[in-house]
Each structure stands twice: as C-alpha cells, then as structure tokens.
Amino acid sequence: MAIATKRPATGRRPATDRSRRPAPRLPVLAAAAIALAAALPALAQEQQQQAEEPAAVVEMTDLLAFEPETVTVTAGETVEWRNVSEVRHTVTADPAEAAYSGSAHLPEGAEPFDSGFVEPGDSWQHTFEVPGTYDYFCIPHEATGMRGTVVVEEAQ
C-alpha cells in the first residue's frame, strides 16, 4: 500500500507514471463521474493514512542518497520518503526495474513497489505488511549508488 503526498501548488506535473499513455476518449461528463466515484473512497483512505505518523522517515538528497540508508520498522508500519533535493527520485523495490542484480530484493510473498517520480519537495509513503529485508533503489540514480534498505520485523 502506497500513497503520495505533495506540497501545495508547485505548478509541476506529478509524474507518478513514467510510461504515460494518451488519455482515453471517454465523454467528458461520464469520465468525470467515474473519476469522482473512484476518487472518493481513495481520498478518504489517503486522509486517514496521512493522519498516521510514519514509523520512519527517509530523505532523498542532492548527494544521491537515501538517508538513513537503512531503517527498521515493524510489520504494518509505514515508511515515508521525503524528496529534499532539487531533482526527481524514485523509491523502487522491483527487480524487473533494476539494471543491477543487487539493487532490488524482496522477502518471499512481498509485492514489488515503485513510487514513480517523487518531485522535489514531495513525499511518498509505503506500508510494509510482510516481514523481511527490502532492498530498493532510485531508478534514475541506480548507477550512482542511490540504494536503501528497509528491515521489517515481525509484529509482537
């Protein structure tokens, strides 16, 4: 489970999907109604999640690092990544997106995740349900060593 939060009115295009496709040609009103109906539960869920304090915060920096590089949380807890740099980063734990074999690793049973571009000043959260060690990386800066680890311990 992942949610993105954005700073107010930056004027920048949110880039949550790097493989953008042309918009489907639905009638405008019908599309708006569908979007509204779909958005309401998601919005409520997001507000509820945003109200929760993350168990750990990781900063994404101009020096192309996740700081701290390793965080430890308990199953069911949320980690928040904050982009404090001037450039876009991603939080990606998906071996299919990695150029190097060691960049992404997931515990057995865990689903891959990818934040898409997190804009400067924005943040992104992910809640970890499956215990184990997650190795993740930033897609644009994988080669520069921008990698991190989340250790998820069993809930007591």
Binding site: L63, E86, P120, T144, G145
Partner: protein, 336 residues
Amino acid sequence: MIDRYAPLRYALLAGAMTLPLSLSAVAQEAGGEGEQQAQQEQQQQRQEMISRMQEMTQADGYLEAHRGVETPLHRLGGPLNVTITQDGGGVFVALPGRRELDPHVFGTPDMPRAFAGTPVITGVPPAMRGTEGGAYTELTEPSPFGDAFMTMGSASLTIEATDMTAADAATTEDSVDFEASWQDEEGNTYAVTCCKQLATHGLEYPTFGGVVTNHLLHGFSGVGTPLMPTEYAYLAFWGIGDVMKNDEVVDENRLVHGMLTEYVRTEGYELALDSEVNPQGRHFHLMVAPMQPVPEEGLFRPQPVNTGFTLPNGEPLPFWHVMFESLEVESTQGEG
C-alpha cells in the same frame, strides 16, 4: 540538513577553480623578475605544446574531404525525428573538477593515446596527466569534465531534432530546435537556446551535418573530448546558440553541444570509466564549452562562457555542463 554545496566545497578545496584552458592568459604577477621570467617561459612552452597537439589532430584529413561538399548524401532509412522533453524536476550542473583517467582511453605513460587536438576539447596532452606506478592517475587540472557537481531546480528541456544528412558537409538538412532552462536557489533562471546555425562539419572531429543519431561518441571514439567516457549517443548535435540569464542574453553565438546518451555517472555522481557505463540508463547532456571554434584555423581557442552564475567563492562559472535525467523521449523515422 543536506549540504547541497558539499561537492562544490570539495572541488574548491581541491584547488579546482582554475580552468586549464585559460592557458593563454598572461602570466601572473610574480614576486621577483626571475620568477616572472620563468613563468613566461613556462607559459610559452605550454603554448608551443598546445600548438603541436592541435597540429596532430587525427581527423583533419577526413574533415578536409567533407567540408566542401555542397549536396551531401542522406542517412539510410530517411530522416529520423527525435523529441526530448523534461518538464520540471532538477538538473545536475558540473563544476570545474578532476577525473580519473581511463587506461582504455588514455593508454599508459609508455604508450599514451588520445593526446592530439586542442587540450581537453579533443585530446589530453601527456603533460596534463598525473602518473603513478607506470599508470595514469587523473587529470592534473580541473576541467568541465570532472566529478564535481551541484544541483539546481525548476528545469525545463525541449528538443526537436531531425537527422537527415549523413556525414560532414558544407550544407545540411539536419535541424535542431533546442531550449533548456533551470533555476538557482535565489530564483535566477539560466537558459540556453540553439541552433541559429548547425555545425555542418566539425573542427578536429566530425559533426555529421550537425546532428547524429545512434552513434558512439567521446572516449576512444575520437568524436569529442576523451575525458567523457565512450558512450552510445541516441542523439547528438552541435550548433550555434545563445546563453541567457533571467530572459536576457548574456553570451551569444556560442558553440552548443547536446547529447542523449547511455548513463555515464557512477557512485557519488563521478564520471564513469568505460567499464562502468550503464547501458540501461539514459540522460541528456548540455555543453557550452569555454572554447570557441576558429574555422579558418581548424581549431578551438579558449573563451570562457559568460554564464551569469557566480560560484560561492565569487568566481564566475565559465561553462555550462548540465545533465537532465527525467526525460520523455520520442522518435519517428521516415518522411512524416
């Protein structure tokens, strides 16, 4: 709190603020007459060395055969149209810095390679190479092609390019419409536009009509500085453009080079050696070098770029070498 200027401070501490290519600058005032004379002699020797390197440029014969061609042939497959954009996000701005010398590109002190041509732009004279244990270590002076960098925000990039003309010639059917901008922390906007004119043929190395696609550049290729690693360029161009600050032209008619390549930065954003290039990543490089072409002599001469950007130590940044890394790329082949 992140120290954005940490890499810059490192570069400053390393004495990186003097460009090697201000070589023709007058000798600094010396304490005594003898010391001044020694400096002048050293300067003269250095200028002679540069002239000798420029006379040895390997591409001169090839360029001689092409620069007068008035009706150049087309690339196979017809025109290739490329659009590259970045809307927002940031950029990496290279600062004067040093870099490790790759033995695959530069050879060894016993068997040096890649030394001919204008220093730093086309070759690296052995005198500018550090040595240790029978191997080259790093460039002894800072250049635009080093490991030091800083980031800036609010970036924008738009390129519409067509590659049609195959090889160097007197005329071209290639075209480039290029505009890039970014902002510093104080809110100043820096921009580069291109191309009023394309470099239809090169000086010291070929430019393929001004635009080339799907070609190896730099490193051992002999096209462009060997201080950049050998890299596959999906698109590259060379042309004449302007440099702006806050919507005002601060330097005009500069040689602008851009290229979309495989990813050539490694841990800590250091420039890759050839064996460290990442073929699965891509980024775009903008270069406005502190050199200007002298077509009648077939070489380059030092000329700092008036970027309008001042480094924290009060020195002006004399070039733009800017990397864009969150790109949208599209291409179409054939007559549209």
